[in-house]
């Protein structure tokens, strides 16, 4: 006796049809941006849109890359993201180690802070952040934005790494300590290697967050000190809209995120529900 026994064949066909319609609706905007990006300008601005580029071209990608500040902002985005992710991993790992492996006074308060600050809308803090960084001459600099992004992804980093460290059986460290390892040796021989995959997963999430941000960097910095997201935004407003190159730029900007996302997709659902349903 199974739940599927009373499921009719017609029902499955209906469900599959609805499923396919859903896929088409979800995918259409993605298809449309690809379709546009590969069309020459004359086809993009046609009153009767064509559903496939008649003369596919890479011109849009070329002119996006050649556009002012594109390469500069691409590099800026990579620097800022790399700094933020690396910084958050180091700082976050230390803090995660503390809450996963030590019982100390104020531990619970620290956990509450880590969980709580994720609820602070960063946009609301933009004004004081701007004034603060302006005062110490860190507006229009990559350093100011990098530190801000580091803090932006820090709470998530700490909380996720805590989970990965906690998953390493405590008996392993204890055995190492009994066998005469120092605390430091226990850390880099046992905990660090075993949490490697966790570090990768966490850094990818941080990467996505930092790479996608544009309000902070757009507010703090001038065009030559921005990332690709902000570049996309300004490109649209300042010079009318050249849709072809804009869509090409959008693809280039989204590509790293999509690639990373597909890499971690197996872990996403697991991470989302851990503790939520069972706990």
């Amino acid at each position: 006796m199974s739940a599927t026994s009373h499921r009719s064949r017609a029902g499955t066909i209906l469900a599959n049809t609805v499923g396919v319609v859903f896929v088409v609706l979800m995918a259409f905007p993605v298809y449309w941006v690809l379709n546009t990006a590969f069309k020459p300008a004359s086809e993009v601005l046609s009153f009767t849109p064509s559903f496939l580029p008649e003369h596919p071209t890479l011109d849009n990608f070329r002119s996006a890359i050649k556009a002012p500040y594109f390469l500069v902002d691409l590099r800026n985005g990579m620097i800022v993201t790399a700094f933020a992710v690396a910084g958050a991993l180091v700082v976050g790992f230390l803090a995660a180690l503390a809450i996963a492996r030590f019982r100390f006074y104020g531990r619970r308060a620290f956990i509450m802070v880590i969980l709580g600050v994720q609820l602070v809308p960063l946009l609301a803090l933009l004004i004081p952040l701007y004034l603060m960084l302006n005062r110490v001459d860190l507006t229009n600099s990559l350093i100011g934005v990098s530190i801000t992004y580091l803090v932006l992804i820090l709470p998530y980093t700490v909380w996720t790494l805590r989970g990965f460290i906690a998953a390493v059986p405590r008996e392993l460290d204890e055995a190492a300590l009994v066998d005469g390892c120092s605390r430091w040796q226990t850390f880099y021989r046992i905990i660090l290697p075993l949490t490697g995959p966790g570090l990768v997963a966490t850094s990818i999430y941080g990467f996505i967050q930092a790479w996608n941000e544009f309000i902070i960097i757009n507010t703090l910095n001038n065009p030559e000190k921005q990332n690709l997201m902000a570049w996309l935004l300004q490109n649209q407003t300042n010079r009318g809209t050249a849709w072809g190159p804009l869509m090409a730029g959008a693809i280039i900007t989204a590509l790293p995120v999509v690639a990373f996302f597909l890499m971690i997709q197996r872990h996403i659902a697991v991470g989302l529900t851990a503790g939520a349903v069972k706990g």
């Binding site: 499923g19 905007p29 700082v91 609301a124 933009l126 709470p155 996302f261």
Partner: protein
């Protein structure tokens, strides 16, 4: 964590000396958490306090350039905001958008999650792939895609609606009428939000014990009754979390409006987030913007009560 500590004290076993030793005041945790605490204090706590202070002052551009401290004005900013009809219309709009968009997203997300359990494997895989792509696209990019699709002259949406016999949608401007404009923004937000909701809820559904739904079926419950009395109650904690998260995200709507309205949203398109930003950085009214932000945070706290409770429970578990 209480339980662990007690166990250590009460039942020292062989091989436990390390745990007992750890009960000595240890400077290590403080050392480890210090960098994180300093950063959080410097870039979150301090600005938060500064925002509060700023909302009681009158910060002008000249204070910014001269570095002088702005004059205190008491509750002047709050009085100005709370007596302003525009502000209240922004609050109302943000609230209505949040309720509508979250309701649609969660219901559709649940429907898609259930659909995924019913379709054949290849269809499920296709649904998964499509949603992964949508999920991975940055908000800013998806907003620009939608803006392009509803473009008055060259947008594909107008073209396709125009194909319906007797309908003239050529050069139709979607943003002239705020209701239509908000329909576009809502569609965009729901489209982008469904993957998270559907995939999370689907992952939750896989954890509903099959014996329970089977037993219900044996007892003669229809699919609808099984859903209502077995599946939904089990998924309740998860549904609460994803709903509250959606509320938080949609209540803070900024990017989509900002992009779709060319970085200068008209009054009918302002949300609390864009309004505070426009006041602060568009008009250099930093104090007014701060006061709006303070009010927004307070409203958010009310909305987030559920989520905060759930989080405290998670914090307690450890």
């Amino acid at each position: 964590m209480q339980a662990v500590d007690e166990r250590v004290v009460q039942t020292p076993r062989l091989g436990d000396p390390i745990r007992v030793r750890r009960r000595r005041p240890n400077r290590m945790p403080l050392l480890l958490t210090m960098p994180a605490l300093v950063l959080l204090a410097g870039l979150l706590a301090y600005p938060l306090a500064r925002m509060l202070v700023l909302s009681f002052q009158d910060m002008q551009l000249r204070n910014l350039f001269a570095g002088t401290s702005p004059p205190w004005v008491g509750f002047e900013n709050y009085k100005e905001i709370l007596t302003d009809g525009v502000f209240w219309s922004v609050v109302r709009r943000t609230a209505i958008f949040t309720v509508v968009s979250v309701a649609i997203s969660v219901v559709l997300g649940m429907a898609v999650a259930l659909l995924m359990r019913r379709v054949s494997k290849p269809v499920r895989l296709a649904m998964m792939v499509a949603m992964m792509f949508v999920w991975a696209i940055p908000q800013l990019v998806s907003a620009q895609i939608f803006k392009w699709m509803v473009d008055a002259d060259f947008g594909v949406v107008n073209y396709m609606i125009d194909q319906i016999p007797g309908v003239d949608f050529a050069n139709h401007s979607w943003f002239a009428d705020p209701i239509q404009g908000w329909a576009v923004i809502t569609t965009l937000v729901v489209w982008a939000g469904i993957p998270f909701l559907a995939i999370t809820l689907n992952a939750g559904l896989t954890q509903v014990p099959r014996e329970l739904t089977e037993a219900a079926t044996v007892d003669g419950a229809g699919p609808w009754q099984t859903l209502r009395h077995i599946t939904l109650p089990i998924l309740r904690p998860l549904i609460i979390i994803v709903t509250t998260l959606s509320v938080i995200w949609n209540f803070g709507l900024f990017t989509q409006v900002w992009v779709v309205r060319d970085s200068k949203p008209e009054q009918e398109y302002q949300t609390l987030a864009t309004y505070a930003f426009t006041q602060a950085f568009g008009r250099n009214e930093y104090s007014l913007g701060s006061a709006i932000s303070v009010i927004t945070v307070l409203l958010m706290l009310g909305v987030m009560a559920f989520y905060v409770r759930q989080m405290f429970m998670i914090g307690d578990v450890d």
